[in-house]
């Protein structure tokens, strides 16, 4: 972390917000976070985790912190594209809660689904720990910057044993007017012992929006909690999307998360998971589809701290045009994490000879009696399979689409909520099968 802050012309001048709900404890947290940014600077190419991530343009952009927007209207078009998952749907425009576009879920005992600004205004102390004590520390300047600037986002809390059947859908829409904005939503999910919830994050933008989404989501799972998480990102290519998902898992907890990355010019979806107590399980999947002018970066860090943890990762990339896909998978098995079972797989399909993929596994194992498997592949469409399909009368573009959808389908099929799976299948097909006549594109039942 070493880019001198002085060289960053715009991001460093950003000030913590002075308006909005403001508990006493929050001001110093924000100030310290901003100081952290000043001390450590923004990531540079020599930082391992940012080696391939083209940040220069972002860091020189004249960004202003987003303000609550009342222009309305233009967000309705992207909003119409989101899947209706049946439960609570919280909509955030430029990171601020939009109550008139949102639908609260049914109220139930022991379950809070609200927005952060409202929770802060209500003096909800449960937010404090998540904002105050980043563990083990800030991951990088963008994480700290989110803490310094975020005033809104989702807050989901489940009391011990609480089970929410319907998914909570968080919809983030970026909409910039004349000036590019820095959007800083912060979402916090806390599942106490034995609770269960599904959380879906969807990120969209109005056409032509510029600027940067710098989103942070913290998830805490206490003993035996189960959290299922999905993220679909389809922002305009004129937007930079930086997101980090930080997860802390208690004993016997289970966290499952799948991301589908379609949009943004530069999208960086960081996932870091700490398995802090025995027998925690994490299952991560990701599908990234960078095309012309896009870079999709997927850094994953799994820290096995306690014994008997299980981690699974399956990330797949389909890279077209001059797109750039990055997978940076880091597993650390600490000295106390014996009987860890970790596996990591990254597969990439290059559809063009200008497409680029960087894939890098990093395994650091400090414990005995550990199973750790990893594998990475980068390849092209199987010509034999293409010939086989075409020899049955299937036209080449349809045959290609079939093979690409089959490759991506391994991730799509892991999406449990049916409405979300259908939406993702449609988005992926629209992206990958451009040029195939609609009538040829039957859907797999």
């Amino acid at each position: 972390m070493s880019t001198a802050v002085s060289s960053v012309r715009s991001l460093a001048h950003l000030e913590p917000p002075s308006d909005g709900p403001h508990p006493d404890w929050l001001a110093p947290v924000r100030r310290e976070a901003l100081e952290w940014v000043a001390q450590h600077g923004f990531p540079a190419a020599k930082d391992e985790d940012w080696r391939y991530t083209p940040l220069r343009v972002l860091l020189e952009a004249p960004l202003e912190a987003a303000r609550p927007d009342t222009s309305g209207g233009s967000v309705l078009a992207p909003l119409a594209r989101v899947a209706d998952l049946g439960g609570a749907q919280l909509v955030f425009v430029n990171g601020f809660y939009a109550p008139f576009l949102s639908r609260p879920g049914r109220r139930s005992e022991g379950i809070a689904v609200t927005n952060m600004a409202a929770a802060l205004a209500a003096g909800d102390g449960r937010l404090r720990a998540a904002l105050e004590r980043p563990l083990p520390a800030y991951r990088h300047a963008f994480h700290a910057l989110n803490t310094a600037l975020a005033t809104d986002g989702a807050f989901i809390h489940l009391a011990p044993g609480a089970v929410l059947d319907e998914p909570v859908h968080l919809v983030f829409i970026s909409e910039s007017g004349d000036a590019p904005v820095l959007v800083s939503p912060r979402s916090i999910v806390i599942g106490e012992a034995g609770s269960q919830v599904t959380v879906v994050e969807t990120y969209l933008g109005t056409p032509g929006s510029t600027g940067c989404t710098n989103a942070r989501t913290d998830v805490e799972l206490q003993v035996g909690a189960r959290v299922e998480h999905y993220k679909v990102q389809d922002e305009p290519v004129s937007v930079t999307h930086l997101a980090s998902l930080g997860v802390r898992q208690g004993a016997d907890s289970s966290f499952r998360s799948h991301s589908v990355t379609l949009g943004a010019g530069l999208a960086r979806d960081e996932v870091s998971v700490r398995l802090e107590a025995e027998r925690a399980q994490v299952d991560l999947g990701g599908l990234y589809l960078p095309g012309d002018g896009q870079c999709h970066d997927n850094p994953v860090l799994i820290e096995h701290v306690a014994p008997g943890g299980t981690s699974r990762q399956l990330f797949k990339g389909v890279v077209d045009g001059d797109g750039h896909g990055i997978f940076n998978g880091h597993i650390i098995v600490g000295s106390g994490a014996f009987r860890t079972d970790a596996s990591q797989t990254n597969r990439n399909l290059l559809l063009s000879d200008r497409a680029e993929v960087d894939t890098r596994p990093r395994l650091e194992i400090f414990a005995d009696d550990v199973q750790c498997a990893h594998g990475a592949t980068v390849g092209q469409l199987d010509e034999d399979a293409l010939f086989y399909l075409r020899s049955r009368g299937i036209p080449r573009p349809v045959a290609r689409a079939l093979l690409i959808e089959a490759f991506a389908g391994e991730i799509v099929s892991r999406i449990v909520p049916a409405q979300l799976a259908a939406l993702v299948q449609r988005l992926v097909a629209d992206r990958l099968c451009a040029g195939v006549p609609e009538r040829s594109r039957e859907r797999t039942p």
Binding site: D382, E383, D384, A385, F387, Y388, L389, R390, S391, R392, G393, I394, P395, R396, V398, A399, L402, L403, E405, A406, F407, G409, E410, R439, S440, E442, T444, P445
Partner: protein, 259 residues
């Protein structure tokens, strides 16, 4: 129906087909036999439109030139290749693949597409022909299929797509006797006056089950002898050794052309 005239095929500097000529009429079943490396599979793949070969000569199918057309175009015209090594395609369900294929052909021919229910009914009827379980329909194409299952799946595809020219490339290889009987039974059920078949095999055994009208012997990229079904028995008795001499004496260009 099919007329192959002086067909040559090369990969790089290696000439694999060195002047194959062959004519097959509708309703006929022709066997092409020969040792490993004779070019039998290359002949099959070239007819189906595989990439990677430099091809010269002429292939007429129902009077139209076949060479230079795409594989899907040839399939639409009625050509079908049962692969020696059917390709595994993970993530594409057999049912979906077959319906997409059939509907592509139907669309090309100006017919209505079949909906999922109509297709399923057709598929189930044809699956009985090769004694396949309906669970195969929901598995990925050929993935994890045994050798026999793959070959049965090829014949099932032929039964559903109803080609006018079927080329069976070593459909008997790797089959035990029971599977061979099932596969041959499926093929025989599909014999018809409108349909021609070219059966490529190493072994005479298959021809006990699928009785050919004509037998051709291919050695070293040429058809060196042609005859009736009794030729297969002769080959079984004496092997391919000695046939090269015949080809050298008679010259490749004329041998094997059915009058």
């Amino acid at each position: 129906m099919l007329q192959i005239e002086d067909l040559h095929a090369r990969i790089g500097d290696t000439e694999i087909l060195r002047g194959v000529s062959l004519a097959v009429e509708a309703g006929e079943v022709h066997a092409v036999m020969g040792p490993n490396g004779a070019g039998k599979s290359t002949l099959a793949r070239v007819l189906a439109g595989a990439d990677g070969y430099d091809v010269a000569g002429r292939v007429l199918f129902d009077g139209d030139d076949l060479l230079g057309r795409t594989p899907e175009d040839r399939a639409s015209a009625g050509v079908f290749l049962a692969f020696q090594h059917p390709t595994e395609i993970p993530g594409v369900a057999n049912l979906y693949f077959l319906r997409t294929a059939l509907n592509s052909l139907r669309r090309h021919r100006g017919l209505d597409e079949l909906g999922p229910q109509e297709f399923l009914a057709l598929a189930e009827e044809r699956m009985r022909l090769v004694e396949m379980d309906r669970s195969f329909m929901h598995r990925s194409v050929n993935e994890g299929f045994s050798g026999g299952e793959k070959k049965r799946n090829e014949i099932l595809q032929m039964a559903i797509l109803e080609p006018t020219l079927a080329i069976l490339d070593e459909t008997d290889s790797g089959l035990d006797i029971d599977a061979l009987r099932v596969v041959a039974g499926g093929v025989n059920a599909l014999r018809s006056p409108d349909r021609a078949m070219v059966v490529i095999t190493h072994h005479q055994q298959l021809l006990d089950h699928i009785v050919p009208d004509r037998v051709h012997v291919m050695v070293d990229g040429r058809i060196v002898r042609s005859g009736g079904r009794e030729l297969a028995a002769e080959l079984e008795a004496h092997g391919y050794v000695g046939l090269d001499a015949v080809s050298d004496r008679q010259g490749a260009a004329t041998v094997g052309v059915t009058p």
